[in-house]
Amino acid sequence: MRDRLDHRLTQRHVFDYLDGELGERRQRRLRGHADLCRDCGATLRTLTILLWELRELSAPEREMSVVPGVLRRLRQEPALPWQLRCGHSRP
């Protein structure tokens, strides 16, 4: 009975566990179950790798920064009335 409950817990909350959003007690139950259950162990390993690989995608895909282009557009923008009222000079 406990095994079935832990199996369901693992299937339902595996992402909460991987996101660090599961309480300590449930984490322990999930870890314990994944150690014993072949399917849940494989799922947990696979999803751990998936999330790790997704994080690796965040490496920049472009060597040039977009900052100069944004600053150029910004400096072409006419000052808005509230900005003129504040009296700051433009760069």
Binding site: L18, G20, T46, E53, R55, S58, R62, V70, L74, W82
Partner: protein, 237 residues
């Protein structure tokens, strides 16, 4: 290096070393899980500038100080661009959207009330701008359905040879799988898993409650997993 990253690197290294087999992968995964449990956020550390410093820049920008706003541009433009690039068709459009988002943010900076972090406010402007443009284009034909049921013969990735052999190709396949997600599912995955925002921050950018956000995120992850499972099965034939 942040602890969760270190732990995940251990997983990768274990999977990358051929012949070490399941035992080392299992040990690495367990190390990863324990690290994750010690760090409740479990997230990549995002290089967010000190809040007080950023707060001063925002206040100065709100008072019409353009150089202060330009400093905010320097801090956030490339990150916003990276998010937008995964949403729109190409690099030129991504750059245009990024520029337009900052112009809109500058025009509206006096309305920013500081109830959210500046970059979540900015991401929201950027994503809304990208959506506006996407609506003008015909729907892409390459969008995958949200198949999130695992395949019957889904491989255990810790034992997938293709993962060890071809990191570059794997990355391209993963990019393709992410890009093929329907947009409403792709953005949660980009914000949470690729950009490393917390669930709360990413849900706020999307204008969704956390439950609705997580539902989309989990379906997106499972759909990507399924697409990659198919890739691994094909690669092993």
């Amino acid at each position: 290096m942040a602890a969760p990253l270190r732990a995940l690197q251990a997983v990768s290294e274990a999977f990358a070393s051929a012949g070490e087999g399941r035992a080392s992968a299992r040990a690495a995964w367990q190390a990863s899980a324990h690290e994750a449990s010690r760090h409740p956020s479990g997230r990549r550390v995002v290089a967010t500038p000190p809040a007080t410093d950023e707060q001063q820049l925002i206040e100065r920008a709100q008072a019409g100080d353009q150089p202060a706003f330009e400093e905010l541009v320097r801090r956030h433009a490339d990150r916003l661009y990276a998010v937008v690039l995964r949403y729109v068709a190409d690099v030129e459009e991504a750059e245009e959207v990024t520029q337009e988002a900052f112009l809109r943010a500058w025009r509206a900076i006096s309305d920013f009330e500081g109830r959210s972090q500046f970059f979540t406010w900015l991401y929201r402007i950027g994503i809304n701008e990208a959506k506006r443009r996407a609506e003008r284009r015909p729907a892409p034909t390459t969008v995958s359905s949200l198949e999130d049921e695992p395949l019957e013969d889904a491989p255990d990735w810790s034992e997938a040879p293709a993962l060890r052999a071809e990191q570059g190709e794997l990355r391209r396949e993963l990019e393709r799988a992410v890009r093929a997600l329907p947009v409403d599912y792709r953005i949660p995955l980009i914000l949470r898993d690729i950009e490393g925002l917390s669930t709360e921050e990413a849900a706020e950018v999307m204008g969704l409650g956390e439950v609705a956000f997580k539902s989309r995120l989990h379906r997106a992850r499972l759909a990507v997993r399924r697409a990659m499972d198919e890739y691994f099965i094909e690669a092993n034939r």
